[in-house]
């Protein structure tokens, strides 16, 4: 996929955006209830009463793989994003986090289930998608690949405006987006080309290109993975500041739990197409309950957990999702005999388990928590 695919593929230009799902919420989102959520987010307790801005229900995305096999890239996902919230979507490569993000952006059509924005199901007509993508913007991983080397910074940022037919105050809008992204004074960058910028500056240009359309949500796929270590913190601080200043909600796709600790309010951990644990970052990363999350957290340098659990092997690919709990062949709790002691080992091997109201997809954890309460 090309870097500007999100906006550029939308085809015809049109000023009519009436009745699109995006427009409805745009006018529907009141600043007052938005700031409520933001305060909740900052103290680390998510306000679940706030209506979700973006949500997915029973989402499944399947791809045909060679040999007639079917890859279940996303396999039964429910997820909500509140206004002003930063959600980290974490997991190893191949777990389906990028496919989920692309589906939430409308770049991929779900095989089952729905994506809804502001309470209205996403519609997949060209016109509806175009309006949607004004409200929900994508920020890609590698800024060198996402920017056209022959476009100046000004053109790169203004492209979204031109596609959406916004012609008034173009210069001010571009300047404003650049300075919000931390490129100041913006005029100094108008006529520069991507190769004249450092990696961090290029990522800021990509972010400015998203901001110029005044979105309500940005979806960032590994936004700092290709950046130098010392620059990484600056870009993360920028995402936090945009949330505080503009109430901008974000989904950050990452394999890096440190990033989630740095900026996210809530985290959803994915394994083989499904969210296995979800909750506030402060809880999930200090007291993980799912054995997979426990293992991921335990191998971090200076982990808050005492003993490192290095899982053997690798996740199976999405065309061969194991029966029963999909994590059971690698599960240290099952292998160590704890599941048997709790009398759930048969269930682990035989019955599939999804995220429940307890926000965890694990037979063992579920039994233990009902036993203690």
């Amino acid at each position: 996929m090309s870097g500007d695919g999100t906006s550029a593929q939308s085809g015809r230009r049109s000023e009519e955006r009436a009745q699109s799902s995006a427009e409805q919420t745009r006018s529907g989102a009141r600043p007052d209830n938005m700031s409520d959520t933001r305060n909740g987010a900052r103290t680390g307790t998510m306000n679940h009463d706030a209506k979700p801005l973006l949500s997915a229900r029973d989402l499944a995305v399947r791809f045909n793989a060679p040999g007639g096999r079917v890859a279940r890239a996303v396999d039964g996902v429910d997820i909500d994003l509140a206004p002003g919230e930063i959600l980290a979507l974490a997991g190893e490569s191949g777990c389906g986090k990028t496919t989920l993000a692309r589906t939430l952006l409308g770049l991929e059509r779900p095989s089952e289930g729905t994506v809804a924005f502001g309470g209205s199901p996403l519609r997949y007509s060209t016109r509806a998608l175009k309006a949607y993508r004004r409200a929900v913007q994508l920020v890609l991983q590698d800024p060198s690949g996402a920017l056209n080397p022959r476009h100046t910074v000004y053109d790169a940022v203004a492209e979204g405006l031109r596609i959406h037919g916004i012609h008034d105050n173009e210069r001010e809008r571009v300047a404003d987006a650049l300075s919000r992204a931390g490129l100041r004074p913006p005029e100094k960058f108008f006529l520069t080309y991507p190769h004249e910028l450092s990696g961090g500056q290029r990522q800021r240009v990509v972010i400015a290109g998203a901001l110029v359309l005044e979105p309500q949500v940005i979806i960032a796929d590994e936004p700092v993975a290709s950046l130098d270590a010392s620059v990484r913190g600056e870009i993360l601080a920028l995402l936090l500041r945009l949330r505080d200043e503009l109430g901008l909600a974000a989904i950050v796709v990452t394999h890096d739990l440190g990033l989630a600790w740095n900026i996210a309010d809530r985290i959803a951990v994915m394994y083989l197409g499904r969210i296995v644990e979800e909750g506030p970052v402060d809880r999930v990363l200090t007291e993980p309950r799912h054995p997979y999350t426990q293992a991921l957290v335990s191998v971090l340098p200076n982990s808050p957990l005492p003993e490192p659990v290095v899982l053997t092997g690798e996740p199976p690919d999405a065309t061969a999702v194991p029966g029963g709990c999909r994590f059971h062949p690698r599960c240290q709790v099952l292998a160590g005999g704890l599941a048997e002691q709790a009398g759930v080992d048969d269930e682990c091997r035989r019955s599939d388990v999804a995220l429940g109201t307890d926000h965890i997809a694990c037979h063992y954890a579920r039994t233990m928590s009902t036993a203690t309460t």
Binding site: E92, A229, S230, G258, V281, T286, N302, V310, L311
Partner: protein, 322 residues
């Protein structure tokens, strides 16, 4: 004990269309058997150039001065025949992109066997038997011997590279961002493997990465490079926890400790960008980005200073910072 590797005032200048670019500007270090050194820094700081110089893998026109002594022999002056004998058997390198380092049309066992055939004169059948033993040591099943690289996952390919690096029992292994592209869990597996093998065989290890937290976990000593020079060198856990040089501090703060309330919703970055090696700032090359810069930093060039017996930092404020 005699050092496995001794580097003395190493200076490396690339010559290209942009003129002369000093990539490494005077580095000294020494490793004994069993020593593990983490070499940290960002892109362009010269850390991979140092790795390449140790086995003379840099472009021919590159100007290299100083001394690199590998097990008693000077690498920079040795004959090409001797150099070939030293590569793989004396020291080996594990690079980051295993897919690009492996030959796509050769089976795994044959690739691991190749250096054994060349260096130890074994028949290819005997060498492939050794290759399968090595595969077992790095946790690859024997049936993978007949696989091609594209049939392996990234973690498995990196294990193949490690098996190759071990094939001729070198005394030094250089791992250049060997786990950077891997997933967290696979990275943990590969790091545990490297740690175990280095300890078992008493090999010296130079591990290069931009991720200080990984280096601190794997290596005993940590050296941080900035703009072609070492700016800090000391015991790894202490350097990671309380670096003396402001750049090393920033680099270790860039990787948050999950669970530390001070770093929750508080990412630390460093304003500015790494300097262009062909146009370095005067004085301390870090001074334009330094959060604790003082007046004389722009004019005084600063070398490594002793902070403690086993700990050095190149900062005018080294006593204050401690």
């Amino acid at each position: 004990m005699t050092p496995v590797l001794e580097i003395d005032d190493l200076r490396i200048t690339y010559r290209g269309s942009r003129g002369e670019v000093p990539a490494v500007r005077g580095i000294s270090m020494s490793l004994e058997p069993g020593d593990t050194l983490g070499l940290a820094g960002e892109s362009g700081c010269g850390k991979s150039t140092v790795a390449g110089a140790i086995l003379r893998l840099l472009p021919r026109e590159t100007q290299v001065t100083g001394r690199i002594v590998l097990d008693g022999d000077d690498v920079l002056t040795m004959s090409f025949g001797k150099l070939r004998a030293v590569r793989w058997a004396g020291a080996s390198i594990v690079f980051q992109g295993a897919m690009h380092s492996l030959n796509p049309v050769h089976r795994i066992a044959r690739q691991i066997a190749e250096p054994i055939v060349l260096h130890e004169g074994l028949s290819s059948d005997a060498a492939e038997k050794r290759a399968v033993e090595l595969m077992a040591q790095v946790g690859l099943p024997a049936w993978r011997a007949s696989s091609y690289p594209h049939q392996l996952s990234g973690g498995q390919r990196q294990r193949v590279m490690i098996a190759m690096a071990l094939a001729c029992s070198p005394q030094l292994i250089i791992a250049d961002e060997a786990t950077t592209a891997l997933d967290v869990m696979i990275q943990a597996q590969v790091l545990a493997l490297i740690k175990r093998l280095v300890a078992e065989r008493n090999i010296a290890l130079v591990m290069i990465s931009h991720d200080l937290s990984v280096l601190a976990d794997t290596c005993d000593r940590l050296a941080v490079m900035y703009a072609g020079k070492l700016v800090e060198d000391g015991p790894s856990h202490e350097v990671f926890a309380a670096a003396r040089h402001p750049y090393a501090q920033a680099l270790s703060a860039a990787f948050p400790t999950v669970g530390d309330p001070a770093e929750r919703r508080n990412p630390h970055g460093l304003a500015g960008d790494p300097p262009d090696p062909s146009n370095l700032p005067t004085g301390c090359s870090f001074h334009p980005r330094c959060p604790v810069v003082r007046d004389d930093c722009a004019s005084t060039s600063v070398e490594l200073r002793r902070a403690r017996d086993d700990w050095r930092a190149a900062c005018l404020r080294v006593e204050e910072v401690a």
